[in-house]
C-alpha cells in the first residue's frame, strides 16, 4: 500500500509528465488558453491514462515481454514479441479512446458534453503513449502499481495544464515583449515551473 502511494505521488510531482519529460506538450501548449477547457482536457487525460496503462501492462506482461507467452505452454516460453509493443500500445490507446468515448456518451451525456471534444485529441497526446512506454521500461511488479502510476501521471499532467492556463489568463494583462507573446513566454514560464517542481525531487516517502 505504501508503495502504491509512493508511486502515485512520485508520478505527480517528481516525474511529472510535463515538467520532467515534456510529454503531451502539443496539446498542453495548444489548449491551455483558458482554465475551463484545460480542466476538461486534463480530466480526459487522467481518465484515459488510468485505463490504458493497466491494460497495456496486462498486454505487455501476458503477450509481449520476453517469455510472456509461457502460460500457453513451455514451448512458447522463449518467444519475445517485445518488438511489437509500440504497435500494440498505440492500437490499444486508439481503441480505448474510442471505447471510452462511446461508453461515456451512453452513460453520462453531461460528462460527454464536457469531455467529448477532447477525447479524439488524446490518441495523439504523447503523454498517453509515454505512460505505457515508461510503465514497460520501469517494469512495475503488479497491475496495482501500474494503475497507480497511470493515474498519478494523469493527475500530474492535469495539474500542469490547469496551472499554466491560470497563469496565461493573468499574463494577458502584462507587458510581454512582442516577439515573446503567446508561445515564447509560455515556454519560458513552463521552464520556470519545471524548476519549481524540481524542488520535489528526492522526496522519499
Amino acid at each position: 500500500m505504501e508503495n502504491l502511494f509512493d508511486i502515485f505521488i512520485k508520478a505527480i510531482f517528481v516525474e511529472n509528465m510535463i515538467f520532467a519529460y515534456f510529454l503531451g506538450m502539443c496539446s498542453y501548449l495548444a489548449v491551455s488558453k483558458t482554465v475551463e477547457t484545460s480542466t476538461g482536457l486534463g480530466l480526459a487525460v487522467v481518465f484515459v491514462l488510468g485505463i490504458t496503462v493497466p491494460v497495456d501492462y496486462l498486454i505487455n506482461e501476458y503477450l509481449l515481454a520476453d517469455g510472456a507467452l509461457a502460460w500457453l505452454g513451455p514451448e512458447f516460453a522463449t518467444i519475445d514479441l517485445s518488438f511489437l509493443s509500440f504497435i500494440m500500445f498505440i492500437a490499444v490507446i486508439a481503441s480505448m479512446v474510442q471505447l471510452v468515448e462511446m461508453v461515456i456518451e451512453k452513460f453520462s451525456p453531461t460528462l460527454y458534453a464536457n469531455l467529448g471534444i477532447f477525447l479524439p485529441l488524446i490518441a495523439v497526446n504523447c503523454s498517453i503513449l509515454g505512460g505505457s512506454l515508461f510503465m514497460q521500461e520501469r517494469d512495475y511488479n503488479n497491475i496495482a502499481e501500474a494503475t497507480s502510476f497511470g493515474l498519478g501521471s494523469g493527475v500530474g499532467w492535469f495539474l500542469a495544464i490547469v496551472a499554466i492556463a491560470a497563469i496565461r489568463e493573468k499574463i494577458r494583462y502584462s507587458n510581454v515583449p512582442a516577439p515573446l507573446r503567446g508561445l515564447g513566454i509560455t515556454f519560458i514560464i513552463t521552464g520556470l515551473m519545471g524548476i519549481a517542481f524540481m524542488a520535489f525531487m528526492g522526496i522519499e516517502l
Binding site: 515534456f22 511489437l84 514497460q136 521500461e137 499574463i171 516577439p179 524548476i195
Partner: protein
C-alpha cells in the same frame, strides 16, 4: 501521373518552397507548435539530438511517400489507424536498426524513439498534405518539415551540451581553450529539463523579432 511529372521539373519553385517554407516561416516547432513532446527531453547532448532529427527525417519522408502512394486506396473511415500503423512500423524498424548498429545512442534515446509515433508533426503532415498530394511533393514536404524540426533540435542540443557540459559531440571544447582555468564553471541548469524550454523560448524570441509577421496577439 507520369505526364504531370514531366511537365513539372523536380525542383520547381513550388517544390523548393515545400522544402524551405518549414525552415523558418512555417517551422513545425516554433510556429505550428507541433512535435514538441518527443523533442526536448533528448536534447541534453548533441549526438542524440542529431540521431533523433535524422530518424524523424527518414520516418517522415518514407511515411509521407507511403501514405501518398496509398492515398486513393485507404478507406477514409480507418485512415487514422492506417497512418498510425504505418508510422509505428517505421518507428519500430528505426528502433531495431538503432539498437543493432548504434547501440550507445539507442540507449540514450530509450523510450523517446517510440514517442516519434505520437509526434504530431508526422500525423499532421500526413493528414494535411500527403493524403491529398502526389508522392514527390509529399516526400519534399515531409523532408522539409522534419528538417525544420531537426534544426531546432540540433541547435538546442548544441547549446545545452556546450554550456551544460562544456563539450561539443563529447569533445571538451571549453577545457581545451582554457576557460576553466580562468574560473569558468559549467552551467548546471543547462542539463536539467527546464533549460530546453528556455532555449526554445529564446529561439522563438530571436526568430520572431526577425520576422515580425509571426508575432502573436497574446
Amino acid at each position: 501521373m507520369a505526364e504531370t511529372k514531366e511537365k513539372e521539373p523536380l525542383f520547381s519553385t513550388k517544390n523548393k518552397k515545400l522544402l524551405s517554407e518549414p525552415m523558418v516561416r512555417n517551422n513545425p516547432i516554433t510556429v505550428q507548435v507541433l512535435g514538441i513532446c518527443s523533442a526536448l527531453a533528448i536534447t541534453v547532448k548533441l549526438e542524440p539530438s542529431l540521431v533523433m532529427a535524422l530518424s524523424v527525417v527518414v520516418i517522415m519522408g518514407v511515411s509521407n511517400v507511403i501514405i501518398s502512394l496509398l492515398r486513393n486506396m485507404i478507406p477514409p473511415r480507418i485512415r487514422i489507424i492506417v497512418m498510425l500503423t504505418v508510422i509505428a512500423s517505421l518507428v519500430v524498424l528505426t528502433d531495431e536498426v538503432l539498437e543493432a548498429f548504434l547501440y550507445d545512442v539507442s540507449k540514450q534515446l530509450s523510450v523517446f524513439v517510440g514517442l516519434i509515433i505520437t509526434n504530431c508533426i508526422i500525423m499532421g503532415r500526413l493528414e494535411a498534405f500527403a493524403s491529398s498530394n502526389k508522392p514527390w511533393p509529399s516526400f519534399l514536404d515531409g523532408i522539409g518539415n522534419a528538417a525544420g524540426y531537426g534544426w531546432i533540435l540540433i541547435v538546442v542540443g548544441f547549446f545545452r551540451e556546450l554550456f551544460g557540459s562544456g563539450e561539443v559531440f563529447g569533445y571538451p571544447v571549453f577545457e581545451k581553450i582554457g576557460l576553466y582555468s580562468i574560473g569558468y564553471e559549467n552551467n548546471g541548469l543547462m542539463i536539467l529539463p527546464p533549460a530546453a524550454l528556455f532555449v526554445v523560448g529564446i529561439i522563438i524570441w530571436v526568430q520572431r523579432s526577425r520576422h515580425p509577421e509571426l508575432v502573436e496577439e497574446n
